[in-house]
Symmetry: C2
Subunit: 349 residues, 2 copies
Amino acid sequence: MKATFIYGAGDVRVETVPDPVIQHPTDAIVRTVRACVCGSDLHRYHSMPARDTGRSMGHELIGVVEETGAAVTSVKPGDFVVVPFSWQDNTCVFCREGVQTSCLHGGFYGTREAAGLQAERARIPQADGSLVVVPGIDPDTADEGLLASLLALSDVYLTGYHAAHMGRVAPGATVTVIGDGAVGLSAVLASRRLGAERIILMGRHRARTDLGAEWGATDVVAERGAEGIAKVMDLTNGEGSHIVLEAVGHMPAYEQASGIVRPGGIISRVGAPQYEEAPIGFGSLFGKNVRLAGGPAPVRAYLDAAIPQVLGGEIAPGRVFDRAIPLADAAAGYAAMDSREALKVMLTP
Amino acid sequence: MKATFIYGAGDVRVETVPDPVIQHPTDAIVRTVRACVCGSDLHRYHSMPARDTGRSMGHELIGVVEETGAAVTSVKPGDFVVVPFSWQDNTCVFCREGVQTSCLHGGFYGTREAAGLQAERARIPQADGSLVVVPGIDPDTADEGLLASLLALSDVYLTGYHAAHMGRVAPGATVTVIGDGAVGLSAVLASRRLGAERIILMGRHRARTDLGAEWGATDVVAERGAEGIAKVMDLTNGEGSHIVLEAVGHMPAYEQASGIVRPGGIISRVGAPQYEEAPIGFGSLFGKNVRLAGGPAPVRAYLDAAIPQVLGGEIAPGRVFDRAIPLADAAAGYAAMDSREALKVMLTP
């Protein structure tokens, strides 16, 4: 089958590899219907040192179950499923507390434990805890927009939702979203659905901020750094934002968040931090009683509620996909996202 | 009158200065009944560079109103009051949101704006928003224990309470308190009252941890660093603590908190951080979806509820005071706390 690997910055290759096989009784094999490229994949596309063996890529997928291990009971061959970007047993103590990305028996794709999902087929560990069936949909005849929105539940929309949920977005709140990538726009949509009164979107790509406005952003701030902070403070009567959703992951975005958050407010991060240390002392978070939240989204925790919202047409988070290309051309998809020509690229096997 | 100043590390002096006078119509003058030394005062006592002019010290006080400015309406001469460690108008937008320590018209004692409270008299700015009357108590004849507990509401107990409140301590939670100083012990008491099922107190001073146990600590861990982390992980079935209340402020305490907090858990800090940058990236907070909370306690927000708890005998937070000395001997009080001979020292004018 075809599968995607990265060999270093800018060097993505689609190669032919053996089909995956069941390794554990809890595994399932899923045939890809749609996969895609994530903004977080671009961190490696920017800076990974060149190496001889490729690193397997991808962690977002919808597909059809082809085979299940002996212990799998909740899905069967033929089921159309959404695959969350982490796998989990969904029964351990941390899963029960809603932190499935920290599952005691869970993990991530594109690692030693499981190959990446930008491929024609995938081995899904802990299938019972990970796969969620989409009832009543035949992926071969389904509407493209519906498929896109289901694929968005694998990571991007529910990561935006996680930001808003952990930021405790509620009716009346002023929310600022930093980043007009697919996760930032998803955070706008989720904030609107959670009742935010005002949503300030910080981003400079017109086509993207236009979708943000359609999804509920009341203000768009194109400026960055000190200028961007001043603009948001102006918009909030000098008080700052109750909630800041940081969907970028770089230090300037964190500093921006810290600069615009209101005393007693929350910064909720879902952009994978490209730093380890950051200011949290008296002069930044502590003095203002600012709270910090966020992390890798426990997509599985939100999936049961989100699938009916997509099927019922309440939300169409798949609109973040503005390009669909064959899996074989994945390298072109990375390049298009990296150059900002495409917001989010769907891969079709 | 007598007032306390620090001239450098280890150099505390009580000097005679002019009595304070009303400067603004919103001021009140309060005669000290009891004041005290705070753990946070010790940071300066350790490391302040020597200088020629003393820095005015103290921010905890109970006393009797002697005089009020023309605009003050809620207190009058003769009223017995608790003075929160910050002053605030208690009407601005941030006060209304419960973050009185960030009041638009507020501030702190021992600054250019207002002298410290380790003195015989004090000028209290924004008296209407800051002073809370203790009804039905004559401080000249009141029980010493009652006075101590009211004084504890000025900062220490409600700072411990703030840690627990912002840590979202609730029934069933496992809470670890780092630090057996007066704030840490207060956090134990507050956690117990908020229903914590298990309270692990990290501290090595037996007399203090004994009070902690009496106030609700179910386990005491004397070890620090990696050994302390391992001990807490053992005690929590390898899972870590839902909530960690950090009542120290030094980096090793933060690292300890980060090491023992459970995925999805909360670190709530009330020890004034003696650092600005700290690890919050994927390897520390983000990867585990750990939340960070805390800051200077908005004592005023909690005072109306706490005073009746003290008057009714529900709580006796004044037990953290294990020494009472004349204000004139304040220097000896600092020394006793610094050497850990005393847990918290009360000053009597």
